[in-house]
Subunit: 248 residues, 2 copies
DNA sequence: CGTGTTATTGACCAACATCAAACTTAGTGG
DNA sequence: CCACTAAGTTTGATGTTGGTCAATAACACG
Protein backbone atom coordinates (compact mmCIF):
# COMPACT_ATOMS: atom_id res chain seq x y z
CA UNK A 1 0.00 0.00 0.00
CA UNK A 2 1.45 3.32 -1.01
CA UNK A 3 0.78 6.65 0.60
CA UNK A 4 -0.74 9.18 -1.74
CA UNK A 5 -1.33 12.06 0.62
CA UNK A 6 1.10 13.41 3.24
CA UNK A 7 -0.10 11.87 6.53
CA UNK A 8 -0.63 15.08 8.44
CA UNK A 9 -2.57 16.59 5.53
CA UNK A 10 -5.12 13.89 6.18
CA UNK A 11 -5.40 15.00 9.78
CA UNK A 12 -5.73 18.66 8.89
CA UNK A 13 -8.37 17.96 6.25
CA UNK A 14 -10.35 15.98 8.77
CA UNK A 15 -10.08 18.61 11.49
CA UNK A 16 -11.20 21.28 9.05
CA UNK A 17 -14.48 19.42 8.63
CA UNK A 18 -15.26 20.06 12.28
CA UNK A 19 -13.64 23.44 12.99
CA UNK A 20 -11.98 26.45 11.42
CA UNK A 21 -8.21 26.26 11.78
CA UNK A 22 -5.91 29.27 11.75
CA UNK A 23 -2.74 29.15 9.66
CA UNK A 24 -0.46 28.85 12.72
CA UNK A 25 -2.58 26.01 14.07
CA UNK A 26 -2.28 24.17 10.78
CA UNK A 27 1.43 24.78 10.71
CA UNK A 28 1.81 23.43 14.21
CA UNK A 29 -0.25 20.36 13.39
CA UNK A 30 1.74 19.79 10.24
CA UNK A 31 4.95 19.77 12.27
CA UNK A 32 3.96 16.92 14.56
CA UNK A 33 6.45 14.05 14.67
CA UNK A 34 5.11 10.87 13.19
CA UNK A 35 6.17 7.25 13.09
CA UNK A 36 4.53 5.30 10.27
CA UNK A 37 3.48 1.69 10.70
CA UNK A 38 1.55 -0.82 8.64
CA UNK A 39 -1.07 -3.29 9.77
CA UNK A 40 -2.57 -6.25 8.01
CA UNK A 41 -6.26 -6.73 7.61
CA UNK A 42 -7.71 -7.92 10.93
CA UNK A 43 -4.65 -7.00 12.96
CA UNK A 44 -5.23 -5.25 16.26
CA UNK A 45 -3.73 -1.78 16.36
CA UNK A 46 -4.29 -1.24 20.06
CA UNK A 47 -5.73 -3.69 22.56
CA UNK A 48 -8.03 -3.40 25.52
CA UNK A 49 -5.78 -3.13 28.58
CA UNK A 50 -2.91 -1.47 26.72
CA UNK A 51 -1.39 1.76 28.03
CA UNK A 52 -0.34 3.50 24.85
CA UNK A 53 2.19 6.31 24.88
CA UNK A 54 1.33 7.46 21.36
CA UNK A 55 -1.80 8.32 19.40
CA UNK A 56 -2.50 6.65 16.08
CA UNK A 57 -3.58 8.69 13.09
CA UNK A 58 -5.16 6.65 10.32
CA UNK A 59 -3.42 7.48 7.09
CA UNK A 60 -4.80 4.78 4.82
CA UNK A 61 -7.44 2.13 5.37
CA UNK A 62 -10.44 1.46 7.57
CA UNK A 63 -10.38 0.79 11.30
CA UNK A 64 -12.99 -0.34 13.79
CA UNK A 65 -13.30 0.07 17.54
CA UNK A 66 -14.60 -2.97 19.38
CA UNK A 67 -15.06 -4.63 22.69
CA UNK A 68 -15.21 -8.33 23.53
CA UNK A 69 -17.80 -9.28 26.10
CA UNK A 70 -18.09 -12.05 28.63
CA UNK A 71 -19.57 -14.73 26.43
CA UNK A 72 -17.18 -14.11 23.55
CA UNK A 73 -19.54 -11.77 21.76
CA UNK A 74 -18.12 -8.74 20.00
CA UNK A 75 -19.58 -5.28 19.78
CA UNK A 76 -18.10 -2.91 17.22
CA UNK A 77 -18.57 0.64 18.47
CA UNK A 78 -17.39 2.79 15.58
CA UNK A 79 -15.75 2.79 12.20
CA UNK A 80 -12.81 5.06 11.44
CA UNK A 81 -11.42 6.42 8.21
CA UNK A 82 -8.26 8.23 7.12
CA UNK A 83 -7.75 11.45 9.05
CA UNK A 84 -9.25 10.07 12.26
CA UNK A 85 -7.26 9.58 15.47
CA UNK A 86 -9.42 6.94 17.09
CA UNK A 87 -7.25 6.62 20.17
CA UNK A 88 -6.84 10.31 20.87
CA UNK A 89 -8.62 9.47 24.10
CA UNK A 90 -5.57 7.55 25.31
CA UNK A 91 -4.10 10.97 26.04
CA UNK A 92 -6.28 11.21 29.16
CA UNK A 93 -7.53 7.66 29.63
CA UNK A 94 -4.38 5.75 30.31
CA UNK A 95 -5.74 2.23 30.05
CA UNK A 96 -7.64 1.32 26.90
CA UNK A 97 -11.11 -0.02 27.68
CA UNK A 98 -11.52 -1.41 24.16
CA UNK A 99 -9.49 -2.36 21.12
CA UNK A 100 -8.90 -0.94 17.67
CA UNK A 101 -8.49 -3.22 14.68
CA UNK A 102 -7.68 -2.84 11.00
CA UNK A 103 -10.59 -3.75 8.72
CA UNK A 104 -8.31 -3.46 5.68
CA UNK A 105 -4.57 -3.12 5.36
CA UNK A 106 -3.86 0.07 7.29
CA UNK A 107 -1.13 2.68 7.42
CA UNK A 108 -1.10 4.49 10.72
CA UNK A 109 1.02 7.38 11.90
CA UNK A 110 1.90 7.29 15.56
CA UNK A 111 2.40 10.57 17.39
CA UNK A 112 3.98 10.46 20.88
CA UNK A 113 1.67 11.62 23.66
CA UNK A 114 4.45 13.96 24.75
CA UNK A 115 4.32 15.77 21.42
CA UNK A 116 0.56 16.10 21.55
CA UNK A 117 0.73 17.39 25.09
CA UNK A 118 3.28 20.01 24.14
CA UNK A 119 1.20 21.07 21.18
CA UNK A 120 -2.05 21.47 23.09
CA UNK A 121 -0.27 23.44 25.80
CA UNK A 122 1.35 25.71 23.24
CA UNK A 123 -1.65 26.19 20.96
CA UNK A 124 -4.97 26.31 22.83
CA UNK A 125 -6.81 26.38 19.53
CA UNK A 126 -5.51 22.88 18.82
CA UNK A 127 -6.50 21.72 22.28
CA UNK A 128 -10.02 22.89 21.53
CA UNK A 129 -10.26 21.06 18.17
CA UNK A 130 -8.89 17.86 19.65
CA UNK A 131 -11.29 18.04 22.56
CA UNK A 132 -14.10 18.77 20.13
CA UNK A 133 -13.06 15.78 18.05
CA UNK A 134 -13.34 13.42 21.01
CA UNK A 135 -16.72 14.98 21.83
CA UNK A 136 -17.95 14.23 18.34
CA UNK A 137 -16.83 10.63 18.70
CA UNK A 138 -18.92 10.65 21.80
CA UNK A 139 -21.92 12.01 19.91
CA UNK A 140 -21.56 9.18 17.44
CA UNK A 141 -21.62 6.61 20.26
CA UNK A 142 -24.83 8.20 21.50
CA UNK A 143 -26.40 8.02 18.08
CA UNK A 144 -25.44 4.36 17.73
CA UNK A 145 -26.76 3.67 21.20
CA UNK A 146 -30.08 5.20 20.23
CA UNK A 147 -30.09 3.14 17.07
CA UNK A 148 -29.31 -0.19 18.67
CA UNK A 149 -31.72 0.55 21.50
CA UNK A 150 -34.69 1.82 19.58
CA UNK A 151 -34.39 1.45 15.83
CA UNK A 152 -35.38 -1.52 13.67
CA UNK A 153 -32.79 -3.58 11.82
CA UNK A 154 -33.74 -1.86 8.55
CA UNK A 155 -33.29 1.58 10.03
CA UNK A 156 -30.01 0.71 11.67
CA UNK A 157 -28.45 -0.60 8.50
CA UNK A 158 -29.64 2.34 6.44
CA UNK A 159 -28.36 4.62 9.17
CA UNK A 160 -24.76 3.37 9.30
CA UNK A 161 -24.50 3.48 5.57
CA UNK A 162 -25.63 7.11 5.61
CA UNK A 163 -23.13 7.89 8.34
CA UNK A 164 -20.12 6.37 6.65
CA UNK A 165 -21.08 7.99 3.36
CA UNK A 166 -21.36 11.46 4.85
CA UNK A 167 -18.12 11.15 6.75
CA UNK A 168 -16.17 9.83 3.77
CA UNK A 169 -17.61 12.50 1.56
CA UNK A 170 -16.81 15.26 4.03
CA UNK A 171 -13.09 14.44 3.86
CA UNK A 172 -13.19 13.93 0.12
CA UNK A 173 -12.93 10.14 0.09
CA UNK A 174 -16.19 9.52 -1.73
CA UNK A 175 -17.47 11.22 -4.79
CA UNK A 176 -20.75 10.72 -6.47
CA UNK A 177 -22.96 8.30 -4.64
CA UNK A 178 -20.73 5.30 -4.33
CA UNK A 179 -17.90 4.38 -1.99
CA UNK A 180 -15.91 1.60 -0.41
CA UNK A 181 -17.35 0.06 2.71
CA UNK A 182 -14.80 -2.66 3.42
CA UNK A 183 -16.87 -4.38 6.04
CA UNK A 184 -18.19 -7.94 5.96
CA UNK A 185 -21.76 -8.69 6.87
CA UNK A 186 -20.51 -10.29 10.07
CA UNK A 187 -18.78 -7.04 11.02
CA UNK A 188 -21.85 -5.03 10.13
CA UNK A 189 -23.87 -7.35 12.34
CA UNK A 190 -21.45 -6.90 15.23
CA UNK A 191 -21.71 -3.15 14.90
CA UNK A 192 -25.49 -3.11 14.90
CA UNK A 193 -26.31 -5.71 17.50
CA UNK A 194 -27.76 -8.09 14.89
CA UNK A 195 -26.91 -11.51 13.52
CA UNK A 196 -25.10 -11.84 10.23
CA UNK A 197 -27.98 -13.81 8.76
CA UNK A 198 -30.41 -11.06 9.51
CA UNK A 199 -28.10 -8.40 8.11
CA UNK A 200 -27.97 -10.34 4.89
CA UNK A 201 -31.74 -10.49 4.63
CA UNK A 202 -32.24 -6.83 5.42
CA UNK A 203 -29.58 -5.86 2.91
CA UNK A 204 -31.54 -7.70 0.28
CA UNK A 205 -34.69 -5.84 1.25
CA UNK A 206 -32.94 -2.50 0.93
CA UNK A 207 -31.60 -3.53 -2.46
CA UNK A 208 -35.07 -4.57 -3.59
CA UNK A 209 -36.41 -1.23 -2.42
CA UNK A 210 -33.83 0.40 -4.69
CA UNK A 211 -32.16 2.28 -1.85
CA UNK A 212 -28.67 0.80 -2.14
CA UNK A 213 -26.67 -1.73 -4.03
CA UNK A 214 -24.07 -3.23 -1.72
CA UNK A 215 -21.87 -5.96 -3.13
CA UNK A 216 -18.28 -6.84 -2.59
CA UNK A 217 -17.57 -4.18 0.00
CA UNK A 218 -18.67 -1.45 -2.35
CA UNK A 219 -21.82 0.60 -1.85
CA UNK A 220 -23.81 2.37 -4.53
CA UNK A 221 -26.56 4.59 -3.22
CA UNK A 222 -29.64 4.27 -5.36
CA UNK A 223 -31.88 6.80 -3.65
CA UNK A 224 -30.20 9.13 -1.15
CA UNK A 225 -33.30 10.91 0.18
CA UNK A 226 -35.03 7.56 0.45
CA UNK A 227 -32.10 6.02 2.29
CA UNK A 228 -31.90 8.89 4.76
CA UNK A 229 -35.60 8.62 5.44
CA UNK A 230 -35.41 4.84 5.85
CA UNK A 231 -32.58 5.19 8.35
CA UNK A 232 -34.09 8.13 10.24
CA UNK A 233 -30.77 9.79 9.49
CA UNK A 234 -30.08 13.40 10.41
CA UNK A 235 -26.40 14.40 10.16
CA UNK A 236 -26.59 17.00 12.94
CA UNK A 237 -24.98 14.65 15.45
CA UNK A 238 -21.81 14.61 13.35
CA UNK A 239 -21.36 18.31 14.11
CA UNK A 240 -19.77 18.98 10.73
CA UNK A 241 -18.77 22.55 10.09
CA UNK A 242 -20.27 23.70 6.85
CA UNK A 243 -22.66 21.54 4.94
CA UNK A 244 -20.69 21.09 1.74
CA UNK A 245 -23.28 21.82 -0.87
CA UNK A 246 -26.51 20.10 -1.65
CA UNK A 247 -25.37 16.50 -1.53
CA UNK A 248 -26.11 16.16 2.15
CA UNK B 1 -35.15 20.91 48.58
CA UNK B 2 -32.36 22.26 50.70
CA UNK B 3 -28.71 22.18 49.82
CA UNK B 4 -26.63 20.31 52.30
CA UNK B 5 -23.24 20.47 50.65
CA UNK B 6 -21.66 23.55 49.03
CA UNK B 7 -22.28 23.10 45.28
CA UNK B 8 -18.69 23.27 44.15
CA UNK B 9 -17.66 20.78 46.83
CA UNK B 10 -19.81 18.31 44.97
CA UNK B 11 -17.91 18.99 41.79
CA UNK B 12 -14.52 18.68 43.45
CA UNK B 13 -15.47 15.43 45.18
CA UNK B 14 -16.57 14.01 41.87
CA UNK B 15 -13.46 15.11 40.02
CA UNK B 16 -11.29 13.62 42.73
CA UNK B 17 -12.79 10.22 41.93
CA UNK B 18 -11.27 10.40 38.47
CA UNK B 19 -8.04 12.35 38.99
CA UNK B 20 -5.67 13.76 41.58
CA UNK B 21 -6.23 17.49 42.04
CA UNK B 22 -3.61 19.88 43.33
CA UNK B 23 -4.56 22.42 45.99
CA UNK B 24 -4.44 25.35 43.54
CA UNK B 25 -6.63 23.48 41.09
CA UNK B 26 -9.17 22.83 43.82
CA UNK B 27 -9.06 26.45 44.86
CA UNK B 28 -9.62 27.60 41.30
CA UNK B 29 -12.53 25.20 40.86
CA UNK B 30 -14.03 26.33 44.14
CA UNK B 31 -13.98 29.92 42.93
CA UNK B 32 -16.11 29.33 39.85
CA UNK B 33 -19.16 31.59 39.62
CA UNK B 34 -22.41 29.71 39.95
CA UNK B 35 -26.06 30.50 39.40
CA UNK B 36 -28.37 28.09 41.20
CA UNK B 37 -31.64 26.98 39.68
CA UNK B 38 -34.30 24.43 40.57
CA UNK B 39 -36.12 22.02 38.30
CA UNK B 40 -39.20 19.95 38.92
CA UNK B 41 -39.31 16.26 38.34
CA UNK B 42 -39.56 15.58 34.61
CA UNK B 43 -38.58 19.10 33.59
CA UNK B 44 -36.09 19.45 30.77
CA UNK B 45 -32.87 21.15 31.86
CA UNK B 46 -31.48 21.56 28.36
CA UNK B 47 -33.14 20.62 25.08
CA UNK B 48 -31.89 19.15 21.85
CA UNK B 49 -31.23 22.10 19.53
CA UNK B 50 -30.37 24.52 22.35
CA UNK B 51 -27.16 26.52 22.22
CA UNK B 52 -26.29 26.86 25.90
CA UNK B 53 -23.88 29.49 27.13
CA UNK B 54 -23.45 27.88 30.54
CA UNK B 55 -22.66 24.41 31.90
CA UNK B 56 -24.95 22.83 34.46
CA UNK B 57 -23.49 21.17 37.53
CA UNK B 58 -25.88 18.82 39.29
CA UNK B 59 -26.00 19.77 42.96
CA UNK B 60 -28.97 17.71 44.13
CA UNK B 61 -31.10 15.12 42.34
CA UNK B 62 -30.88 12.72 39.44
CA UNK B 63 -30.72 13.64 35.77
CA UNK B 64 -30.94 11.66 32.55
CA UNK B 65 -29.68 12.30 29.06
CA UNK B 66 -32.04 11.29 26.28
CA UNK B 67 -32.87 11.54 22.63
CA UNK B 68 -36.24 11.39 20.93
CA UNK B 69 -36.27 9.45 17.67
CA UNK B 70 -38.36 9.63 14.55
CA UNK B 71 -41.28 7.48 15.64
CA UNK B 72 -41.59 9.11 19.04
CA UNK B 73 -39.45 6.54 20.79
CA UNK B 74 -37.08 7.65 23.50
CA UNK B 75 -33.58 6.43 24.23
CA UNK B 76 -32.03 7.38 27.53
CA UNK B 77 -28.27 7.48 27.13
CA UNK B 78 -26.99 8.05 30.63
CA UNK B 79 -27.93 8.79 34.21
CA UNK B 80 -26.25 11.59 36.15
CA UNK B 81 -25.83 12.23 39.83
CA UNK B 82 -24.71 15.13 42.00
CA UNK B 83 -21.22 16.30 41.08
CA UNK B 84 -21.66 15.56 37.37
CA UNK B 85 -21.67 18.26 34.69
CA UNK B 86 -23.60 16.39 32.03
CA UNK B 87 -23.48 19.23 29.52
CA UNK B 88 -19.81 20.04 29.86
CA UNK B 89 -19.70 19.04 26.21
CA UNK B 90 -21.63 22.18 25.27
CA UNK B 91 -18.34 23.99 25.74
CA UNK B 92 -17.16 22.67 22.39
CA UNK B 93 -20.34 21.35 20.81
CA UNK B 94 -22.43 24.43 20.40
CA UNK B 95 -25.71 22.83 19.46
CA UNK B 96 -27.09 20.16 21.78
CA UNK B 97 -27.77 16.92 19.95
CA UNK B 98 -29.84 15.55 22.82
CA UNK B 99 -31.70 16.71 25.92
CA UNK B 100 -31.15 16.53 29.67
CA UNK B 101 -34.07 16.05 32.03
CA UNK B 102 -34.63 15.96 35.77
CA UNK B 103 -35.65 12.52 37.05
CA UNK B 104 -36.31 13.97 40.52
CA UNK B 105 -36.51 17.55 41.73
CA UNK B 106 -33.09 18.92 40.84
CA UNK B 107 -30.87 21.75 41.98
CA UNK B 108 -28.39 22.72 39.30
CA UNK B 109 -25.58 25.25 39.39
CA UNK B 110 -24.95 26.99 36.10
CA UNK B 111 -21.43 28.14 35.29
CA UNK B 112 -20.96 30.49 32.32
CA UNK B 113 -18.94 29.03 29.46
CA UNK B 114 -16.77 32.13 29.62
CA UNK B 115 -15.75 31.31 33.18
CA UNK B 116 -14.95 27.72 32.30
CA UNK B 117 -12.92 28.84 29.31
CA UNK B 118 -10.90 31.22 31.43
CA UNK B 119 -10.30 28.56 34.01
CA UNK B 120 -9.09 25.91 31.59
CA UNK B 121 -6.78 28.43 29.93
CA UNK B 122 -5.37 29.52 33.26
CA UNK B 123 -5.04 26.07 34.84
CA UNK B 124 -4.12 23.34 32.35
CA UNK B 125 -4.56 20.76 35.07
CA UNK B 126 -8.25 21.60 35.17
CA UNK B 127 -8.49 21.44 31.40
CA UNK B 128 -7.10 17.92 31.60
CA UNK B 129 -9.58 16.75 34.25
CA UNK B 130 -12.53 18.22 32.39
CA UNK B 131 -11.43 16.63 29.17
CA UNK B 132 -10.92 13.37 31.02
CA UNK B 133 -14.40 13.67 32.46
CA UNK B 134 -15.98 13.97 29.03
CA UNK B 135 -13.89 11.01 27.88
CA UNK B 136 -15.23 8.91 30.72
CA UNK B 137 -18.78 9.84 29.75
CA UNK B 138 -17.83 8.59 26.36
CA UNK B 139 -16.54 5.34 27.81
CA UNK B 140 -19.90 4.88 29.52
CA UNK B 141 -21.74 5.33 26.22
CA UNK B 142 -19.55 2.67 24.72
CA UNK B 143 -20.29 0.28 27.55
CA UNK B 144 -24.01 0.88 27.21
CA UNK B 145 -23.75 0.41 23.47
CA UNK B 146 -22.08 -2.93 24.01
CA UNK B 147 -24.79 -3.85 26.49
CA UNK B 148 -27.73 -2.92 24.33
CA UNK B 149 -26.08 -4.51 21.30
CA UNK B 150 -24.93 -7.78 22.77
CA UNK B 151 -26.14 -8.43 26.30
CA UNK B 152 -29.38 -10.11 27.38
CA UNK B 153 -32.10 -8.21 29.20
CA UNK B 154 -31.04 -9.80 32.49
CA UNK B 155 -27.44 -8.79 32.04
CA UNK B 156 -28.31 -5.26 31.02
CA UNK B 157 -30.47 -4.62 34.03
CA UNK B 158 -27.96 -6.09 36.43
CA UNK B 159 -25.28 -4.04 34.70
CA UNK B 160 -26.91 -0.60 35.07
CA UNK B 161 -27.66 -1.27 38.68
CA UNK B 162 -24.01 -2.09 39.27
CA UNK B 163 -22.94 1.03 37.44
CA UNK B 164 -25.17 3.43 39.34
CA UNK B 165 -24.21 1.81 42.62
CA UNK B 166 -20.49 2.12 42.00
CA UNK B 167 -20.77 5.72 40.86
CA UNK B 168 -22.94 6.76 43.79
CA UNK B 169 -20.67 5.01 46.19
CA UNK B 170 -17.55 6.56 44.72
CA UNK B 171 -18.83 10.06 45.52
CA UNK B 172 -20.14 9.01 48.91
CA UNK B 173 -23.84 9.01 48.07
CA UNK B 174 -24.44 5.37 48.90
CA UNK B 175 -23.31 3.50 51.90
CA UNK B 176 -23.75 -0.11 52.64
CA UNK B 177 -25.43 -1.96 49.85
CA UNK B 178 -28.54 0.08 49.32
CA UNK B 179 -29.25 3.32 47.51
CA UNK B 180 -31.85 5.48 45.80
CA UNK B 181 -32.47 4.75 42.15
CA UNK B 182 -35.25 7.21 41.38
CA UNK B 183 -36.07 5.73 38.02
CA UNK B 184 -39.37 4.20 36.94
CA UNK B 185 -39.47 0.92 35.09
CA UNK B 186 -40.47 2.83 31.97
CA UNK B 187 -37.33 4.94 32.23
CA UNK B 188 -35.22 1.89 32.88
CA UNK B 189 -36.73 0.33 29.78
CA UNK B 190 -35.93 3.41 27.70
CA UNK B 191 -32.36 3.32 28.87
CA UNK B 192 -31.85 -0.33 28.04
CA UNK B 193 -33.70 -0.65 24.77
CA UNK B 194 -36.39 -2.86 26.33
CA UNK B 195 -40.11 -2.64 26.96
CA UNK B 196 -41.36 -1.69 30.40
CA UNK B 197 -43.24 -4.96 30.69
CA UNK B 198 -40.12 -6.96 30.09
CA UNK B 199 -38.12 -4.90 32.56
CA UNK B 200 -40.73 -5.67 35.16
CA UNK B 201 -40.48 -9.40 34.55
CA UNK B 202 -36.71 -9.47 34.59
CA UNK B 203 -36.64 -7.45 37.78
CA UNK B 204 -38.79 -10.10 39.38
CA UNK B 205 -36.39 -12.78 38.21
CA UNK B 206 -33.44 -10.95 39.72
CA UNK B 207 -35.35 -10.54 42.96
CA UNK B 208 -36.19 -14.25 43.02
CA UNK B 209 -32.53 -15.04 42.43
CA UNK B 210 -31.76 -13.00 45.54
CA UNK B 211 -29.52 -10.56 43.70
CA UNK B 212 -31.44 -7.36 44.37
CA UNK B 213 -34.53 -6.03 45.99
CA UNK B 214 -35.80 -3.07 44.04
CA UNK B 215 -39.02 -1.47 45.21
CA UNK B 216 -40.21 2.10 45.27
CA UNK B 217 -37.14 3.59 43.64
CA UNK B 218 -34.89 2.10 46.28
CA UNK B 219 -32.40 -0.68 45.61
CA UNK B 220 -31.03 -3.13 48.12
CA UNK B 221 -28.27 -5.33 46.79
CA UNK B 222 -28.67 -8.86 48.06
CA UNK B 223 -25.58 -10.44 46.56
CA UNK B 224 -22.99 -8.06 45.14
CA UNK B 225 -20.59 -10.61 43.63
CA UNK B 226 -23.57 -12.43 42.17
CA UNK B 227 -25.01 -9.25 40.70
CA UNK B 228 -21.70 -8.27 39.13
CA UNK B 229 -21.37 -11.69 37.57
CA UNK B 230 -24.95 -11.66 36.31
CA UNK B 231 -24.41 -8.28 34.68
CA UNK B 232 -20.97 -9.08 33.26
CA UNK B 233 -19.92 -5.95 35.13
CA UNK B 234 -16.33 -4.80 35.29
CA UNK B 235 -15.87 -1.26 36.60
CA UNK B 236 -12.72 -0.59 34.56
CA UNK B 237 -14.62 1.44 31.99
CA UNK B 238 -15.51 3.99 34.67
CA UNK B 239 -11.82 4.83 34.96
CA UNK B 240 -12.11 5.58 38.66
CA UNK B 241 -8.93 6.62 40.36
CA UNK B 242 -8.36 4.44 43.37
CA UNK B 243 -10.55 1.52 44.11
CA UNK B 244 -11.91 2.61 47.48
CA UNK B 245 -11.47 -0.49 49.54
CA UNK B 246 -12.92 -3.90 49.13
CA UNK B 247 -16.51 -3.01 48.40
CA UNK B 248 -15.95 -2.85 44.69
C1' DC C 1 -8.28 -25.61 -9.94
C1' DG C 2 -8.47 -26.22 -4.96
C1' DT C 3 -9.21 -23.89 -0.51
C1' DG C 4 -10.78 -20.69 2.63
C1' DT C 5 -13.69 -16.81 3.42
C1' DT C 6 -18.01 -14.59 2.73
C1' DA C 7 -22.76 -14.54 1.22
C1' DT C 8 -27.18 -16.75 0.76
C1' DT C 9 -31.08 -19.88 1.85
C1' DG C 10 -34.31 -22.58 4.58
C1' DA C 11 -36.34 -24.47 8.74
C1' DC C 12 -37.20 -23.67 13.25
C1' DC C 13 -37.07 -21.19 17.67
C1' DA C 14 -36.69 -17.74 21.53
C1' DA C 15 -36.45 -13.41 23.46
C1' DC C 16 -38.76 -9.76 23.87
C1' DA C 17 -42.75 -6.63 22.16
C1' DT C 18 -47.57 -5.35 22.22
C1' DC C 19 -52.05 -4.86 24.04
C1' DA C 20 -55.12 -4.57 27.58
C1' DA C 21 -56.69 -5.06 32.04
C1' DA C 22 -56.14 -5.18 37.04
C1' DC C 23 -53.79 -4.04 40.94
C1' DT C 24 -50.65 -0.92 44.16
C1' DT C 25 -49.00 3.04 45.87
C1' DA C 26 -48.43 7.66 46.86
C1' DG C 27 -50.38 12.00 46.88
C1' DT C 28 -54.23 15.32 47.47
C1' DG C 29 -58.12 17.46 49.19
C1' DG C 30 -62.19 17.29 51.94
C1' DC D 1 -58.28 9.96 58.41
C1' DC D 2 -60.63 8.56 54.44
C1' DA D 3 -61.98 8.74 49.68
C1' DC D 4 -60.24 9.93 45.08
C1' DT D 5 -56.95 10.20 41.55
C1' DA D 6 -52.98 9.58 38.87
C1' DA D 7 -48.82 7.34 38.29
C1' DG D 8 -46.51 3.27 38.36
C1' DT D 9 -46.39 -1.86 38.64
C1' DT D 10 -47.94 -6.43 37.72
C1' DT D 11 -50.25 -10.07 35.09
C1' DG D 12 -51.96 -12.72 31.11
C1' DA D 13 -52.57 -13.66 26.29
C1' DT D 14 -50.72 -13.29 21.94
C1' DG D 15 -47.61 -11.61 18.16
C1' DT D 16 -43.21 -10.56 15.76
C1' DT D 17 -38.60 -9.43 15.07
C1' DG D 18 -34.70 -11.28 14.76
C1' DG D 19 -31.66 -15.42 16.49
C1' DT D 20 -29.70 -20.14 15.75
C1' DC D 21 -28.29 -23.99 13.17
C1' DA D 22 -26.89 -26.03 9.19
C1' DA D 23 -26.27 -26.55 4.52
C1' DT D 24 -25.17 -24.62 -0.02
C1' DA D 25 -23.47 -21.23 -3.21
C1' DA D 26 -20.40 -17.60 -4.70
C1' DC D 27 -16.11 -15.52 -4.76
C1' DA D 28 -11.15 -14.39 -4.18
C1' DC D 29 -6.68 -15.82 -4.12
C1' DG D 30 -2.63 -18.51 -4.65
Amino acid sequence: MQIRVPPLERLITKLETIAVLSAPAKAALGALPLRLAQFEENADIVRQGDRPHECGLIVEGFVCRYKLLGEGQRQIMSFHIPGDIPDLLSLHLRVMDHSLAALTPVVAGFIPHAAVHELVMAVPEVAAVFWRDTLIDSAVFREWLAGVGRRSAHQRIAHVICEVYVRLRSVGLADGESFQLPVTQVELADSLGLSAVHVNRVLQDLRREGLIDYRGRFVVIGDWPGLKARGDFDPDYLHLRGVQGSWM
